[in-house]
């Protein structure tokens, strides 16, 4: 039987209004399905529903707003389907913009902050290690758990809203210490040294890790101690594409895995797996399913580009301009946009012809839809989802190759990098 607090029962009885009654009832259904014994507090929420998904979703959220409900904890929003700051530049369909505005306004009326980003970990109120939050957005979930050591399940759409409105979540999955224990050890061997400092290597490793994932937490051994936060997040974001990965450990690098023993909570691994460079090459080949050598757009920033990634992009451009036959889009958060505007990086990128979008991702919406040529990206997540979402063909390449191609106006890839 599930334990409910007095406040939980008040919500369930309807004394706190219909929205909280509905939310608590749904929380209890999820608790029952997931075997949770009780609900626990969360300190913040990040909601995935801020893009226009369709009529049903709009109707549902409208009903909740009409009750006058407000979020109970600080709540941010995931990316929207359009850039709400620059609709005239980046939205091709009026209806798309109107619908996106409607849904975002509804969430605003619930008290959500107007930060529309898939990278809430870049915002100032980053949770602390051990803190319980309710984050939707798969890449943010892996990041919170693995890189920060905060605790969140992969809180699905609607469950996230229930958590925001009540400040409660079923105690299940990764909210429970025992479930954070690594059970599978993944060794990476025979990896060329140059790969280990390359961002896209970590994303490819993430795709492999996601495919190997069978529900048991994986700890990777062999990741350098100086792997960057961006590299770890690339690994996690990619792993969440190919598998239901919400937590990984990198032994010697991530907070809950200072040692193998710590990652495995003192137990031996149940299974030891090993991958080498051929697995990485194989997954790289599978990601770029295009035969065309014509590229006329470059899409960066899925998940939202970090401050460090912007600096690197500006360095790689080194004063050169994007070729007139090319378009180069970068998606980021308003927060990072403000930072790069303040420190002058934005001015450099703008004069190079780079177009920076906030609030959204170019794999939503119509910006890059129905292109004849392929789109090049340095994001495995973009490469994974864009073919289905947009019908475009994709080439996944290193950021160096993306920049070289964007500047040259034609395919310019250093294939030798991935050689033996």
């Amino acid at each position: 039987m599930m334990e409910l607090s007095a406040q939980d029962r008040e919500c369930l009885s309807g004394h706190e209004g219909p929205a909280l009654k509905h939310s608590m009832s749904l929380l209890c259904s999820v608790a029952a399905a997931s075997g949770a014994r009780r609900l626990v507090d969360v300190t913040q929420a990040h909601l995935v529903g801020a893009y226009y998904g369709g009529k049903a979703d709009l109707k549902l959220v409208e009903r909740i707003v009409a009750t006058g409900a407000r979020v109970a904890v600080p709540t941010t929003l995931n990316a929207s389907s359009v850039d709400l700051r620059q609709p005239e530049r980046y939205t091709q369909k009026e209806a798309e913009f109107r619908n996106s505005c409607r849904i975002v306004r509804l969430y605003e009326r619930l008290g959500c902050r107007l930060e529309l980003t898939c990278a809430p970990y870049h915002l100032p109120q980053q949770p602390q290690r051990g803190e319980r939050v309710a984050w939707a957005e798969s890449n943010a979930v892996v990041y919170a758990n693995s890189v920060i050591g905060a605790r969140t399940e992969k809180v699905y759409q609607y469950l996230d809203l229930c958590a925001a409105l009540t400040g409660r979540i079923p105690e299940y999955g990764l909210y429970i210490t025992e479930n954070r224990r690594a059970k599978v050890l993944l060794r990476i061997a025979d990896i060329p040294n140059r790969w280990l400092s390359e961002d896209s290597f970590y994303q490819l490793l993430g795709l492999v890790l996601g495919k190997l994932y069978d529900g048991r937490v994986i700890a990777v051994v062999g990741i350098p101690v100086d792997a960057t936060e961006d590299q770890l997040r690339g690994l996690g974001a990619a792993a969440a594409c190919t598998g239901n990965v919400s937590l990984f450990h990198a032994i010697g690098r991530t907070p809950e895995a200072p040692t193998q023993d710590a990652a495995f909570h003192g137990h031996p691994p149940e299974e030891v797996l090993s991958i080498d460079s051929s697995a990485i090459r194989e997954v790289r080949d599978s990601l770029s399913h295009t035969t065309t050598n014509t590229v006329n757009a470059v899409a960066l920033g899925a998940p939202h580009f970090s401050h460090a990634e912007f600096k690197r992009l500006a360095e790689l451009l080194d004063g050169r301009r994007i070729h007139s036959s090319m378009r180069c889009f970068v998606s980021t958060s308003r927060h990072t946009y403000r930072e790069i505007t303040a420190n002058g990086v934005m001015a450099v990128l703008e004069s190079a012809g780079v177009q920076v979008l906030t609030d959204t991702c170019t794999y939503y919406g119509s910006l890059l839809r129905s292109h004849d040529a392929a789109v090049m990206t340095s994001s495995a997540k973009w490469a994974y989802y864009a073919p289905g979402n947009l019908g475009v063909s994709v080439r996944f390449e290193r950021i160096e190759d993306c920049v070289a191609t964007a500047v040259a106006g034609k395919l310019s890839v250093d294939e030798g990098f991935w050689g033996a």
Binding site: H22, A33, Y158
Partner: protein, 161 residues
């Protein structure tokens, strides 16, 4: 032991008796980016059963994966009438539960969400095959095969738009 001709289930979300053709997915599916709400077709280019249509079928799958926006995508699919008749996973699937719960709040007919009973274990997956016709009974909590078994349209998996 178990009657090999039926599969014991429990309801993650209650729904009425349904019968129809099975579609058994080889890999988990992300509804968002994986299922088209306006046709019920699997659109994840990386899914081995990409291109097949789930509408009106008893959808059996190892689980969901990928985007946390999956409940919204399944909700839209159910709301537009292209949803499956039932969804069956070896373990309770939260994304699916959230979608069907909200669909019912929007006055849609309930879609049963089922998981194998504890006694049944996961071997239920071994007897369910794409194209076979089965019935779910909420009173007996059993999935049973229909006598006429295989549907003629199984290879075609026609999508009615």
């Amino acid at each position: 032991m178990h009657d090999p001709k039926c599969v014991a289930v429990r309801a993650v979300f209650e729904g009425p008796e349904v019968s129809g053709e099975l579609l058994v997915l080889d890999e988990p599916l992300s509804y968002w980016g994986g299922l088209c709400p306006l046709s019920g077709r699997i659109i994840d280019a990386h899914h081995p059963q990409s291109g097949l249509c789930v509408t009106g079928l008893l959808l059996v799958m190892p689980g969901t994966r990928g985007s946390t926006a999956s409940p919204g995508a399944l909700l839209e699919t159910l709301y537009s009438g292209y949803g499956p008749a039932a969804i069956i996973t070896p373990a309770p699937d939260i994304a699916t539960l959230l979608a069907v719960y909200q669909a019912q709040c929007l006055d849609q007919p309930p879609t049963p969400v089922l998981t194998f009973s504890d006694q049944q274990g996961t071997w239920g997956m071994d007897v369910l095959h794409t194209g076979d016709r089965w019935r779910y009974s909420p009173t007996t909590r059993l999935l049973t095969p229909l006598d006429d078994s295989r549907s003629e349209s199984r290879q075609r998996n026609e999508c009615h738009q």
